[in-house]
Symmetry: C2
């Protein structure tokens, strides 16, 4: 049955995000999905490789802005133009998902579309593949399906999803509600209750089912999908851009998913991180160049080296991260990883566009 | 009178030291005197430039080991071979000073020899020149003369010199005794007493006077100077090496100066630092590449950049020094500057000779 479903599945890797939290690895023309944060492949290429266990390369699509499209040539197997969906502007995930849905709809109402963030960390490819197939199966039955991550700590940086029934094993459960990033106290409650999951941002749905949901939630979205599909088929880029630009810039979660009637969650069996900032990369032992450091009398400190970055030695420095690239090095307090944007802002003020 | 004296003065810059405390600027073939710790000139070239206010280039000599001699070609005006005295081996400052004394003796017993460390920080060239001339004058009268540095804090890293009388103005005073690096309590006493000076390691003496002192202290030293002079004159490098290798490897202070009968001290009128480690460089606002850093929410932290080193940004990190070169970056607790040798030792263990 799986082969039957995968044969009519289209995956869409959403790689449109920008973000300055990964300076000095990230630059204005090289956002997070294109960084080699963990070994020799960039995050996006890792995402693609995970999919290759279940899908052919031809079923994998990339949704991103025009100025980033050339970076796809760096993938270990560059995709053909037909697999690249260019967003005419940034319209958050709503724009990307509606464009992807339009694209999938051209293959028929039974096509299963899968939306995947481009820059999450999922080392266990085998476990991912199993959950992926289960999610396809559930989506084929007529539901929007997501993979929920079992919380390991009361993290306040993630959105949570409450299941309406207690999950046993890797079976789909009904979603009761989505909750925004909670404060510490609530996060601890969610963790204790046990029926809460982190929102991975991965969605599986049959085109026909999504169109039904959209029609109910906001018929303008159905109309947009139909118009985008028409433009894609006709190759009418100008009309596509006009339609796309009329979409509000909001997240698909907020605009659609949270309002959907039937959402199922499959508890993920794999380890996961959305790798929000440098502290996460350090905790996951990231870096593209290993053995290029020497630490003496340092507690809680880490070095993350890009290829071509200088050797880094640390002496007597605690809870400090050093991010090393060929032309710029960032030394930061481990607890300030969320503030790296301030460095980028300062560099812009200083007129150091060469480093941005 | 000054011109009369400077006309028969030979200065010897002692550049033989090694040291690993300035890694990653310093490497096995580039010790501290050849580092650009303050602006575009290396320490040795700065020392030479200070002398040019009072002496011709031809009167300035360099005493150092054979493998470092090629680095002299990097000076803003490379010295001729005749001004380079190569030490056949490392014999601490005793070897260097006796070799320099032998060299000066070839110009006659009235020649005034000046011994100068190659790697001290003295930004006020004019004040230095004035003190230098006063010291020559005092040495011409028959004494070993040193410039004493008025302590500004109870530093425990310097040797101290006690004057026998209270100095008033820049006039020479008798030296009562030399004291080794004191503990904190003693250093505070010395500072409070006021007749104590830091030992700058600069010595001025007439050849004839030094030979008298040596004869009294250890006649083997006189014999060594005479033999070294003979070898220099004859160009007999093998015999010179044999004689030099027989010298004990101890400091000139310990072997000779502290035992001399007549030592005068002139209180230096210039600011001074021996620049013992990275914390001193940072305190003196060193670095060869300025404006190549951005610090946000950092207290007591500093960046010292070599030319060609990466840009360094620091965020929320206190009391931390970052030393940046093209192929290696050192991040260290400000109070651990004395331990940089440990990093060098570790790199050797790791087989990273490419970084040493």
């Amino acid at each position: 049955m799986s082969t039957q479903i995968t044969g009519r599945t289209s995956a869409y890797i959403l790689a449109g995000g920008a973000g300055t939290r990964f300076w000095p690895f990230s630059r204005s023309l090289r956002p997070k999905p294109f960084l080699r944060l963990f070994g020799g492949r960039c995050m996006l290429d890792d995402t693609r490789h995970r999919l290759l266990a279940v899908l052919g390369d031809g079923a994998i699509h990339y949704v991103l802005g025009e100025r980033l499209a050339p970076l796809l040539a760096e993938l270990s197997s560059p995709p053909p133009a037909a697999n690249i969906l260019v967003e005419p502007a940034a319209r958050n995930t709503l724009g990307a998902v509606l464009l992807a849905t339009a694209h999938a709809s051209l293959r028929g109402p039974d096509q299963i579309a899968v939306m995947l963030p481009a820059d999450h960390y999922i080392p266990d490819e085998e476990a991912f593949a199993g959950d992926f197939l289960r999610a396809l199966d559930a989506a084929d039955g007529g539901a929007i399906v997501t993979l929920g991550i079992k919380p390991t700590c009361p993290d306040t940086a993630y959105g949570y999803i409450e299941a309406s029934t207690h999950a046993s094993g890797p079976h789909a459960v009904q979603v009761k509600r989505f909750v925004e990033k909670p404060d510490r106290k609530r996060a601890e409650e969610y963790l204790a209750k046990g029926d809460f999951y982190w929102n991975s941002g991965m969605y599986f749905f049959k085109v026909s089912h999504m169109l039904e949901e959209l029609q109910r939630i906001n018929s303008a979205f159905t109309a947009a999908v139909e118009e985008l599909a028409r433009c894609l088929k006709a190759g009418d880029r100008d009309a596509l851009a006009r339609c796309f630009l009329e979409l509000p810039s909001i997240s698909i979660d907020y605009a659609v998913i949270e309002k959907a009637k039937q959402i199922l969650l499959i508890p993920a069996s794999f380890g996961w991180s959305d790798v929000g900032a440098w502290d996460a990369v350090a905790a996951l032992n990231g870096g593209a160049q290993k053995g290029h450091e020497a630490l003496i009398d340092c507690n809680g400190s880490k070095v993350v080296s890009a290829e071509g970055g200088p050797f880094v030695a640390m002496l007597g420095v605690n809870d400090t991260l050093v991010i090393s690239t060929g032309d710029a090095v960032l030394v930061l307090d481990k607890n300030r990883a969320q503030d790296v944007r301030k460095v980028v802002d300062l560099l812009r003020e200083l007129g150091r566009e060469d480093l941005l």
